[in-house]
């Protein structure tokens, strides 16, 4: 209200700062992700899934010695969170993460809000970092919800004291939770890789749907490629290759070989996706 300067009076801080505090920007981004109704719905759906699986398996008594982890869940609740992760990470989790990544850059561009962010100004590299953190948060939230719901359902509905590993040994509850945490962390890295690639795709387009289709489509195609024996040489570079190895945390001792190669692969994808997103954003006309 009092202006005495000879030029446009601006708050003093603006002379020292060229960009808003990073924490506030990230906080605003996270709040934005969490205010979107469909993201919340997705989390809710994810929470319901382990309950559904656990209940059905408990009621029906399992698939009767069928394949894989389903049989292992019966009366062995701590397997449920890992099974839930394995089931969701193939399609559901990537879908949700691609959705958030799509909103992050493509959606903002379509809304015209990307311009606003760049004009604020949020630096282009910083913008990608902020968006990546938003996606990462959704990854952690989504996996956290699945695991939490899985553990609770496992303890309350499926039951079981500790964890009977796939190798037939019995682990106490504490160690079992450690194994579940390991699976969750591993899955988070895999999903972060999906998120990074989705973000890269998101930076190239204004159509959110395209990002979803490309990301999920790529995963489906990877699945097909994996199943073709003559393309075995391609397997090591496909992000989906070791995804079923998440159940290796349930072996005793843990089967680490595939888990580690999966981590390395996901790390490469994260680097690749993030770099591509930065490269695209740095030169993009908006």
């Amino acid at each position: 209200m009092t202006g005495t300067a000879s030029r446009v009076e601006l708050p003093s801080g603006i002379r020292q700062h060229h960009s808003a505090p990073f924490g506030r920007v990230v906080g605003s981004e996270l709040g934005w992700v969490l205010r979107r109704p469909r993201n919340l719905l997705a989390l809710l759906g994810l929470a319901a899934l382990p309950v559904l699986i656990g209940t059905v398996i408990t009621i029906t008594g399992g698939p009767g010695g069928g394949s894989g982890l389903f049989a292992a869940v019966v009366g062995n609740g701590m397997v449920l969170p890992v099974l839930s992760l394995m089931l969701t990470q193939n399609l559901l989790l990537p879908l949700i993460i691609a959705m958030v990544a799509a909103d992050g850059l493509a959606g903002e561009a379509a809304n015209g809000t990307l311009r606003g962010l760049l004009l604020a100004p949020v630096g282009r590299v910083r913008l990608v970092v902020v968006k990546a953190l938003g996606v990462l948060m959704m990854v952690l939230l989504a996996i956290g919800v699945v695991v939490l719901s899985g553990v609770l359902t496992g303890l309350l509905i499926v039951g079981g004291d500790g964890l009977v590993t796939l190798s037939g040994t019995t682990l106490p509850l504490g160690e079992a939770l450690g194994r579940v945490a390991l699976a969750a962390g591993w899955c988070a890295v895999q999903m972060a890789a999906v998120g990074a690639v989705a973000l890269a795709i998101s930076s190239t387009t204004e159509h959110s749907l395209l990002v979803l289709i490309a990301t999920v489509g790529a995963l489906v195609v990877f699945g097909v490629l994996e199943a073709i024996p003559s393309l075995d040489w391609l397997k090591p570079v496909l992000i989906t290759t070791d995804w079923y190895s998440i159940s290796d945390v349930l072996s005793d001792p843990i089967r680490t070989t595939d888990l580690l190669s999966g981590l390395w692969r996901a790390g490469c994808y994260i680097l690749l996706g993030f770099s591509a997103a930065v490269a695209r954003m740095a030169t993009k006309d908006t």
């Binding site: 070989t257 690749l272 591509a276």
Partner: protein
């Protein structure tokens, strides 16, 4: 920062990521080590004499036998059905051992704690107990060959030399360890589908690390089984104990398991004793399925004095499905050909198998 610099830095990131991925696709190019010369006799003898140390490792089986996947043959079938399979092994240096075979998203674990062999199947949630464990798992070539006395080696090499050329052919690096390559090549008059068998022997501990079976007409091994990871040294004693989980079904096998076709023992106590025809590389195993039980599965795996082709026949329906019909003066049947061997099942229940072309089998059937 200028945008172009950012883009350039980011491009470097993309390149690094792509490179990292490619590194996964490329085989680790370990150089063949330089090792002191050793003769084939010495090498075989040292293998026979050495006691395998306590170890933990991962055995990878790479298989291009060209066998059709046989349903209902369990882990063994899965191991033989093509592609890469891996199993983990632990050995305490004496007699206790543990074997863990992944199957789907489950696992089969075999623990030999010295008194009892426990077999746990995570999919079925069953534990089978074999109180008597005088014989060790045949699927593990390395510890099972260990306990043999030294003079067998010489006899063995002598016997091998009757039908094969035995030599040491350079060195190899297997699971990060230096190894000699022992090569067995059939003599020219052996009528076999096999070209050679290569055995990589650890230079230090003298245990076989890898076996490769090469068939005629292919540069890639038809079968390669060997350690992809190996560490020697004392192992955690807990690994060799097994307590069945609470809600598992525990069953005690009265005698060596014969009901499951996938255990290697079934060949030994089968319904009909096999008859061996010929010797060396062109050995043919002749057998007969029980009368009228052409529908019950029967697996057969033969072990001669070295790793060799695997003949495997199933029930008649399976033979009809995966084999091609043939007939001759000896009768009528189905032949299954793989890159390393053949098997014939006749309509009257006779079985012939060997690491030989089908013509040899037919001759054997005719003579029998």
């Amino acid at each position: 920062m200028r945008r172009r610099n950012i883009a350039l830095t980011a491009s470097a990131g993309i390149a690094a990521g792509a490179l990292g991925l490619t590194s996964l696709a490329l085989p680790a190019g370990a150089q063949n080590p330089r090792l002191p010369q050793v003769s084939a006799d010495e090498l075989v003898a040292s293998v026979m004499e050495s006691d395998p140390p306590a170890l933990a490792g991962r055995v990878t089986v790479h298989n291009e036998l060209g066998l059709p996947a046989l349903p209902g043959t369990g882990e063994t079938g899965e191991l033989l059905s093509g592609g890469d399979k891996s199993l983990r092994v632990w050995y305490d240096g004496q007699q206790r051992q543990r074997l863990s075979i992944p199957s789907g998203n489950g696992e089969t674990t075999v623990v030999d704690d010295g008194n009892t062999v426990w077999k746990w199947d995570s999919a079925q949630r069953t534990v089978v107990k074999h109180p008597n464990s005088e014989e060790t798992e045949v699927e593990r070539p390395e510890p099972s060959t260990g306990a043999e006395p030294g003079e067998i080696a010489q006899r063995l090499v002598g016997k091998l030399r009757e039908t094969s050329a035995v030599r040491v052919d350079g060195t190899a690096s297997v699971a990060g360890r230096d190894a000699y390559e022992l090569v067995l090549t059939p003599k020219p008059d052996e009528r076999t589908k096999l070209r050679e068998v290569r055995i990589a022997v650890d230079a230090e501990d003298r245990i076989p690390l890898r076996v490769e079976v090469n068939a005629n007409g292919s540069s890639e091994p038809a079968l390669r089984a060997g350690f992809s990871e190996l560490s020697t040294g004392p192992q955690d004693a807990e690994l060799f104990q097994f307590t069945p989980p609470e809600n598992a079904r525990v069953r005690t096998a009265e005698k060596p398991d014969t009901t499951k076709p996938d255990t290697p023992r079934s060949g030994r106590s089968g319904i009909t004793s096999p008859r061996i025809e010929g010797d060396g590389w062109d050995t043919v195993v002749l057998s007969r399925l029980p009368e009228g039980t052409m529908s019950s599965p029967s697996g057969r795996k033969t072990d001669d004095d070295e790793q060799r082709g695997t003949g495997s026949t199933g029930p008649r329906a399976m033979a009809e499905r995966v084999g091609s019909p043939i007939s001759g003066s000896w009768g009528h049947g189905w032949v299954i050909n793989s890159s390393v061997g053949s098997a014939v099942l006749t309509s009257d229940g006779r079985v012939a198998a060997g690491a030989v072309p089908q013509q040899v089998l037919i001759e054997a059937l005719r003579d029998s």
